[in-house]
């Protein structure tokens, strides 16, 4: 297709809490938690950070990599399940902060952890149809897990922004394919602070069914075998799920490990698979084929078959890479984490 990826940028808050520190509070065996989830630590937003600020920082890092005038961006979509306002878009604040307003359209998306890739698909459609020159799709979240819930070890914060256009592409989008059903594996009702999930039900009928069906669907449609793909990236609710999905589909470690980011930052929800893709783009030099499949509870998966171009070499060093966000960090105690997360109510 004509539209592809022109640039990318991520942002991950610098605060971390280890799975060990959380396990200690709830009387769990830290080793069992670490080995069960394959999550060593997760990112935590600063006291003045939210989905809006994370989206703006990711968008700025995306724009920093290229010479695109932000006023040429015709659409901004922000996918998240933690928009700070129930009514009032995150996307307008991002548009204003990067100087893209006022001649643009904007909307906030919600589809659990896959709203960011939904924004990419919308942008691809608008660029392909000629309605806009550039579209900016962002996936960002400050995910919440109730204290003591297994989600508390994984729910983290981060954002990724992708600029979609038809010129100077760093990756061609060869195809995109979605697989969607009504599956109640994870939800949060309006006005409630924490999501609920159906425990083990989130595995086979939800994550694996959708990730595998979407990934198989796009590979079959394009007559491409796993061995012809250089890197594969999936949504990462924990370390085990994406690795198991990759093995089930016939991928090897060297194909899926470079895109595994959850072990070091936790599950960044709408940003999860997109930060994984960014980590892969960081190590690409042009010519690589990449399969990206997101997953959002509720449930659905968006698959993308990408071919990285030589342009990646020119832009990847112009904004902070995933490895830089991993290097700069500060560890929190469980008490500090509660304070930053607003879980301690002041009178």
């Amino acid at each position: 297709m004509k539209a592809g990826i022109v640039s990318y940028g991520i942002y991950i808050p610098m605060y971390r809490i280890t799975a060990r520190e959380i396990a200690k509070i709830w009387g769990k065996d830290p080793k069992e938690i670490e080995n069960g989830l394959l999550i060593k630590e997760k990112s935590v937003p600063g006291i003045d950070e939210d989905t809006v600020t994370i989206s703006v920082e990711a968008a700025r890092n995306c724009i920093k990599r290229v010479r695109v005038d932000p006023s040429e961006i015709g659409a901004i979509f922000v996918g998240s399940e933690s928009h700070p306002y129930a009514v009032k878009p995150t996307a307008t604040i991002v548009g204003e902060a990067i100087g893209a307003t006022p001649e643009m359209t904007a909307a906030d998306y919600e589809f659990a952890c896959k709203a960011g890739t939904a924004g990419i698909q919308t942008s691809l459609g608008l660029v392909n149809s000629g309605m806009i020159k550039y579209g900016l799709a962002i996936g960002a979240d400050t995910a919440q897990g109730a204290p003591g819930d297994p989600l508390e070890y994984s729910a983290s914060a981060g954002g990724a922004a992708f600029l979609i256009g038809s010129k100077d592409k760093i990756a061609e989008v060869l195809d995109t394919y979605s697989f969607t059903t009504d599956t109640p594996d994870f939800w949060r009702r309006e006005g409630k602070a924490y999501p609920r999930h159906a425990g083990r039900f989130t595995g086979a009928p939800a994550y694996f069914k959708h990730i595998i069906s979407a990934s198989r669907g796009i590979m079959e449609r394009n007559s491409i075998e796993p061995k012809e793909i250089d890197y594969v990236v999936f949504h990462q609710p924990n370390g085990k799920f994406p690795m198991r999905a990759a093995k089930l589909l016939g991928f090897e470690k060297e194909q899926y490990l470079p895109g595994i980011v959850v072990t070091q930052i936790g599950n960044t929800y709408s940003a999860s698979s997109l930060i994984g893709l960014s980590a892969v783009l960081d190590v690409c030099n042009g010519g690589e084929k990449v399969l990206l499949t997101s997953f959002g509870s509720g449930a659905g998966s968006d698959s993308f078959l990408l071919e990285v171009t030589d342009k990646i070499v020119e832009i990847k060093d112009k904004a902070p890479k995933f490895s830089e966000f991993i290097r700069r960090k500060k560890y929190l105690s469980y008490g500090e984490y509660l304070k930053l997360s607003g879980k301690i109510k002041l009178s």
Partner: protein, 136 residues
């Protein structure tokens, strides 16, 4: 608590994007933006300019008794930043402990929540700074 909304909205370009102004006659840069150059007066020619957000700490203070809404952030640092383009701007320095802050250290711009009108009111976003890793 909505009386501050219109004022905040008017200031969005400089709060979100650090949009200042420049006198094209004498070259002075102003932040917050001025509509008239105090030196050149009528001979001045003012235009809008986006500032880089890079600068150095000119002076700072450590706040240990936080203002309303900032109680959870103490101790925090409020600094005067000498921007590369010239203006001095006041702002919070985040993501560091106060003992890391020194006069002359380089800083860079970040976009953060500044305050909010309670749980139901508008959220005020804007510029803050953090210590830069390399010399500007």
């Amino acid at each position: 608590m909505t009386e501050g909304v219109a004022r905040f909205w008017r200031e969005i370009p400089h709060r979100y994007r650090l949009l200042g102004s420049k006198c094209d006659s004498c070259g002075r840069v102003f932040f917050p933006p001025r509509v008239l150059c105090p030196e050149c007066r009528r001979k001045g020619n003012i235009s809008r300019v986006a500032l880089s957000g890079k600068g150095k700490i000119y002076s700072y203070t450590i706040v240990k008794d936080g203002a309303n809404g900032f109680e959870r952030q103490v101790p925090y640092v409020i600094a005067l930043i000498k921007l590369e383009e010239g203006p001095l701007v006041a702002g919070q320095i985040v993501d560091c402990s106060p003992d890391e802050v020194e006069v002359g250290k380089p800083v860079e711009l970040v976009f953060r929540r500044v305050s909010e009108d309670g749980e139901e009111g508008i959220i005020y976003y804007g510029y803050k700074f953090r210590l830069a890793e390399e010399e500007n």
